[in-house]
């Protein structure tokens, strides 16, 4: 248990000293996962809205399928994307494997279902009467939809933070698609995995603490912004 304390001390040291390699890895983690969540949001917010606001056959089944994919293992996503973007795969010409872009793609696919599902849930939480009120006050159909999304913004942002959390904390896809290349595709989780296998448990722990700290800072900033607007 001594390691826990040492890990905490080392984490503080690494943060205070702004250790260049740790800063670089942390920024990359942040950048990759932020990019993943924003790209995923581009798909998921409209998709979640469309599924929620339209009644169609098989809607329940679709939602069930989406929810099933909440538990897709990260290594399966990694393997799936690997087969596509490996040079021998159909998208091999893009030369994406072992690049940060590959990790972003993996993480986007990983969080698509969870984000879509959570946005549907978020919209479900908004009182149905708000849409009618908006429409009766002369809002167009799409304006009414945006109104409801605006009303559900806390839950929507909560979904985005959850998706970000799943992305920045996953290791399977990042390892398989990025290859944990030093100075290029090494992110916090793959660095933790490597340092653990090297037997440097204290450094691993310190990196883990830094990851949690980043997640905390991100969620605080987002929540402060949300309160303000």
């Amino acid at each position: 248990m001594q390691e826990l304390w040492e890990g905490l001390v080392q984490a503080v040291q690494l943060i205070v000293r702004l250790d260049p390699e740790v800063v670089e890895i942390s920024l990359r983690s942040l950048y990759v996962s932020a990019a993943a969540i924003l790209i995923a949001a581009l798909f998921c917010v409209p998709a979640g809205g469309m599924i929620h606001f339209h009644e169609f056959r098989g809607k329940k089944v679709l939602i069930n399928v989406i929810q099933t994919f909440y538990s897709i293992p990260t290594v399966v996503v990694g393997l799936f994307v690997f087969l596509f973007i490996s040079r021998a795969g159909p998208l091999g010409g893009l030369e994406l494997l072992f690049t940060p872009g590959a990790i972003i793609i993996g993480q986007v696919i990983l969080i698509l279902p969870i984000l879509t599902g959570m946005i549907i849930s978020a919209l479900n939480g908004v009182d149905k009467s708000i849409k009618d009120t908006a429409l009766s006050m002369g809002a167009s159909g799409s304006q009414a939809i945006w109104t409801i999304i605006g009303e559900a913004r806390f839950a929507v942002v909560g979904a985005l933070i959850l998706g970000f959390g799943r992305a920045i904390s996953e290791v399977g896809a990042a390892m398989m698609l990025g290859g944990n290349i030093r100075g290029y595709t090494r992110v916090l989780t793959t660095a933790i995995s490597l340092e653990t296998q090297r037997g440097d448990l204290v450094l691993s722990l310190a990196l883990g603490i830094i990851l949690i700290s980043i997640a905390m800072v991100v969620s605080v900033i987002v929540n402060v912004l949300l309160q303000r607007y």
Binding site: L38, A88, F98, E151, Q197
Partner: protein
């Protein structure tokens, strides 16, 4: 209500702005290999990427036993400076490293499994194979040595471990890499030499543990379980301060461990475009610069070098590469 609508519209447009901004960051990051046009993009993010955009990325796959010793941390900046490339190092067991090579995902492989390498060359995937370093395997285990293998030959030792494991799996355990690594290939050879069929060993009982991990993690695992394992001496030395298990068998012709490098053959893998760099890399590994560095790498920390350079002719055992395999430059 109207205010609410305009407010949410404002929020959404803010989000869209933010997203498009971020996309402009992501996209150049997605294909850093070929993006000469990035220079006319004035965004701050693009310029940070433009610094590296002009330098080609040369990818290699290397075995975990080389990676876990930290050797590449020293070699990487040296080659990057010399060849003006970004050296991207992916680490995996020999089997996986060769698979990356076959798929064209790397430009060169550095591995240590003579049989698998011969197949790789025969199938036409590899070209310009050279050797550059060697060392030896060893069998490590708890200092108490419950199976009594100290000082035996590798095959006799394996036999003792097998018998000890069958007799009392709580006392005698063996950790196998359980992946298709070079070390695993060597382990199979030793089981064969000891008179066992490997598939029988795999099913022989709970004493035989297939870890499915790299060399370093297996050492840590063997240490936790006070088990025996086959390890390369370089990784063992690099982990010495972290484990209490000790080397028990260090002598034996079967223990020779030669590290080879191969370029991926563009004639077979159409996407392999870095052959000149791969050739420069192979020649560089055989150069005096690297060979001299190998002779001293680890001496200060571990009291002896982790790898023995082939140049200087120290490798005289059966199975050592021929002189031209580590001296003749590739073209």
């Amino acid at each position: 209500m109207k205010a609410l609508v305009t407010r949410s519209i404002r929020q959404i447009s803010l989000l869209v702005l933010l997203v498009s901004l971020l996309l402009s960051i992501v996209l150049p990051g997605c294909s850093p290999a070929a993006r000469p046009a990035a220079t006319d993009n004035k965004s701050a993010a693009a310029t940070t990427f433009a610094v590296t955009a002009g330098i080609p990325r040369f990818k290699i796959a290397t075995t975990t036993s080389l990676y876990d010793t930290g050797l590449w941390n020293y070699l990487e900046p040296m080659f990057e400076k010399k060849a003006n490339v970004r050296l991207d190092i992916v680490y995996a067991g020999t089997g996986a490293a060769l698979e990356y090579g076959k798929r064209g995902d790397v430009d060169a492989v550095v591995v240590h499994d003579p049989e698998a390498e011969a197949q790789f060359m025969a199938d036409g995937y590899g070209i310009n194979k050279r050797s550059f370093a060697f060392n030896h395997f060893l069998i490590a285990g708890p200092a108490a040595d419950p199976a009594g293998i100290k000082g035996l030959t590798p095959d006799q030792a394996f036999k003792k471990i097998y018998e000890g494991g069958i007799a009392d799996p709580t006392r005698v355990k063996f950790i196998s890499r359980g992946d298709s690594s070079g070390t695993q290939a060597k382990e199979k050879l030793i089981w064969q030499a000891a008179g066992y069929t490997y598939t029988d060993v795999e099913k022989a009982g709970p004493w035989y543990v297939e870890a499915g991990k790299g060399m370093g993690p297996c050492l840590l695992m063997a240490n936790e379980q006070q088990a025996y394992l086959l390890a390369d001496i370089s990784t063992f030395l690099a982990y010495k301060g972290k484990v209490t298990i000790v080397p028990l068998v260090e002598q034996g012709a079967l223990f020779l461990n030669v590290y080879d490098v191969m370029a991926i053959n563009p004639a077979k893998i159409k996407t392999a475009k870095m052959l000149p760099t791969a050739n420069a890399f192979i020649n560089w590994l055989m150069s005096d610069e690297v060979q001299n560095m190998l002779a001293t790498y680890g001496v200060a920390e571990y009291g002896r070098s982790l790898f023995t350079p082939l140049k200087g002719g120290g490798c005289t055992e059966p199975g050592c590469p021929k002189l031209e395999d580590y001296t003749t430059p590739v073209k």
